[in-house]
């Protein structure tokens, strides 16, 4: 298996706080990984570094053998790094289909060329049809013309996933995709991720292990900016270091599972 993305001693410091500390992280093509760890352990900072939200203080990131450490986020998207945000990042001042227009035309050379991109209406059959497919995939077709501000949080999350999927990412980074959702919505999103992971390399950040332990083939545990353990979920959960460092007491392990 080839490594899709790897980091070498990746470090991010914020005014004295080292949020990510010399992390050597890697994901193989086709693999589904989960990153777990307590609040403030550096999970989201790691995602922000991988997706280019801000540059690292030290270290390097390699994507498909290419150094992307200093590449801006929009170029990483072109290379195939897609991400979602902890708080849903769809545009609430637009409608659902308008959210999808930009990512749907992104990879069509003809659509992104000046005359079409600037002067033909976005509300035309070819584009709407692509949006309809994307919405259909996440079950939001009937909400195409709804203002996103009026959608439920779960629908926004589904829409966000539809948006990022239409970027056709090779690597999909999902930052706490289940946070703030109802049990019913969690089941929907988990089912969606099950479908996505057959086609793409996915990394999921999650706070509660129980929700993703069946989704992922590999778990990575972060604590205080470091990777403290990685491997198959059952091995990781059995690891005494993880139990000790991360949960402390045995009874809390049971509570978290």
């Amino acid at each position: 298996m080839n490594a899709l993305i790897t980091t070498q001693k990746l470090t991010k410091r914020f005014n004295g706080l080292t949020a990510v500390n010399r992390v050597d992280f890697g994901v193989h093509e086709g693999q589904t990984s989960g990153i777990i760890g307590p609040n403030g352990s550096g999970k989201t900072t790691l995602f922000n570094l991988l997706s280019g939200y801000f540059p690292p203080s030290d270290g390097a990131i390699t994507f498909q053998g290419r150094d992307i450490t200093r590449i801006p986020p929009h170029d990483r998207v072109k290379l195939g790094v897609g991400r979602t945000f902890q708080l849903v990042s769809v545009f609430t001042s637009l409608t659902a289909w308008e959210n999808l227009v930009l990512t749907n035309v992104r990879f069509q050379r003809a659509e992104i060329a000046p005359p079409r991109f600037f002067f033909r209406t976005a509300q035309r059959a070819e584009i709407l049809d692509d949006c309809a497919h994307a919405l259909d995939w996440v079950g939001l077709t009937d909400k195409a013309s709804a203002n996103v501000a009026e959608l439920s949080y779960g629908d926004k999350r589904m829409l966000e996933i539809a948006v990022v999927l239409s970027l056709k990412p090779r690597l999909l980074l999902l930052d706490e995709p289940l946070a703030g959702l109802s049990d019913h919505e969690i089941a929907q999103v988990v089912a969606l991720i099950q479908r996505i992971k057959t086609e793409r390399t996915v990394v999921i950040i999650e706070h509660k292990i129980s929700k993703i332990v069946d989704l992922v083939e590999r778990l990575v545990v972060m604590n205080e900016g470091r990777l403290i353990c990685e491997g198959a979920p059952e091995d990781v959960l059995r690891d005494p270091q993880v139990r000790e460092c991360y949960w402390g007491k045995e009874d809390q392990v049971a509570a978290n599972l």
Binding site: S51, Q123, L128, L167
Partner: protein, 341 residues
């Protein structure tokens, strides 16, 4: 190829481009209605102001970048056209394009600097450049611009037949220009690029994760907006044939911001309605207030105070301007009608 009917269950339909002609006709009717009550000479000024407000609405209303230095480009267009007429040739079309070209280049260069800033610094850095422009026109270039004395710059007839100093011709000329600018902006803002611009307004940083270089998009909007402002300035020069440094004064920017806020930012009709309301207030209140004072028997305050009060009402009661109020009423009724049995 899919026809609209194939788009399964989608509650939205493709919008044909020809609809724009209906919109243009609507605006033309609105302008002609104004023409029945207002002198054409004044209305021409109104329309030039509408073009300026439209250009500002693209930058502020659609992309959320509030500039205090938009008049730099209006003034640059006006002065370059004027100086071209005086020093190079009398052809109005050539002078117009000279104004547009210089303003486009100027905004393209300054855009590389100002588009790296946000919020208050964006507003103020633009104002700083505007002040510099204002100064340059008044003093170092006074030999050419005649400084505060003003510059007379008559042009030859448009296409050899249309005399732009004639009120009717001037009115028709600026009217056609307004329709062209409106059509251009309507097309631009409903394109995928228009959606990109609106998403930049909401959250610029996230747009990057859609795979777009936001700086380039912002720069394009700045150059387009500035060039359209220059178009308004050039047209002003062509129809008035006289320029004073007033046209490039950063002070004028306030009026444009008022107009956009009154009408409703981020809506082309809002820009037109706001522009019209502002111009009516500006031109008729000063006339009406002394007369009203006579009737009431008390000396009423100056018109600027009434404008301030109107602005306060809009800021507090009509956040999205006149168009916003009309829209929410419309949606409310539509929903009430739908939910009725």
């Amino acid at each position: 190829m899919n026809t609209p009917a194939d788009i399964r269950g989608l509650s939205i339909r493709p919008a044909p481009r020809w609809k724009i002609f209906g919109q243009l006709a609507l605006i033309a009717v609105g302008i002609l209605l104004l023409a029945t009550n207002i002198k054409l000479h004044w209305l021409t000024d109104f329309i030039i102001f509408f073009i300026l407000v439209l250009s500002f609405d693209l930058l502020y209303g659609y992309m959320g970048h509030l500039s205090f230095g938009h008049m730099l480009y209006y003034g640059a267009g006006a002065y370059v056209t004027g100086l071209f007429l005086v020093n190079v040739g009398k052809n109005p079309i050539a002078a117009l394009f000279a104004g547009l070209a210089v303003a486009a280049i100027l905004s393209a260069v300054l855009g590389l600097i100002v588009m790296r800033t946000h919020g208050a610094s964006f507003a103020l850095i633009n104002m700083a450049f505007n002040e510099i422009g204002f100064f340059i026109i008044r003093s170092p270039l006074a030999k050419f611009t005649r400084g505060d004395d003003g510059l007379s710059c008559s042009s030859a007839k448009l296409f050899g037949i249309i005399d732009l100093s004639d009120d009717v011709s001037a009115f028709l000329f600026v009217g056609v220009m307004l329709l062209l600018v409106f059509a251009f902006l309507q097309v631009l803002t409903t394109s995928p690029f228009g959606i990109l611009v609106r998403s930049i307004k909401e959250n610029e940083k996230r747009v990057a994760f859609f795979g777009y270089d936001t700086f380039r998009s912002k720069w394009i909007v700045f150059v387009v907006s500035s060039t359209l402002a220059a178009l308004a300035g050039s047209i002003f020069t062509l129809v008035r044939g006289f320029l004073s440094p007033q046209v490039i004064s950063p002070f004028g920017n306030v009026e444009v911001i008022f107009a956009v806020l009154i009408g409703g930012a981020g809506n082309l009709y809002g820009a037109l309605i706001g522009g019209a309301i502002f111009m009516l207030i500006k031109n008729f209140l000063p006339v009406m207030i002394p007369e009203l004072s006579k009737v009431v028997g008390v000396k009423l305050p100056q018109w600027e105070m009434w404008l301030g009060i109107i602005l306060l009402i809009i800021v507090f009661a009509m956040r999205k301007g006149v168009v916003g109020v009309i829209r929410s009423q419309w949606h409310y009724r539509l929903r009430a009608a739908r939910s009725a049995p």
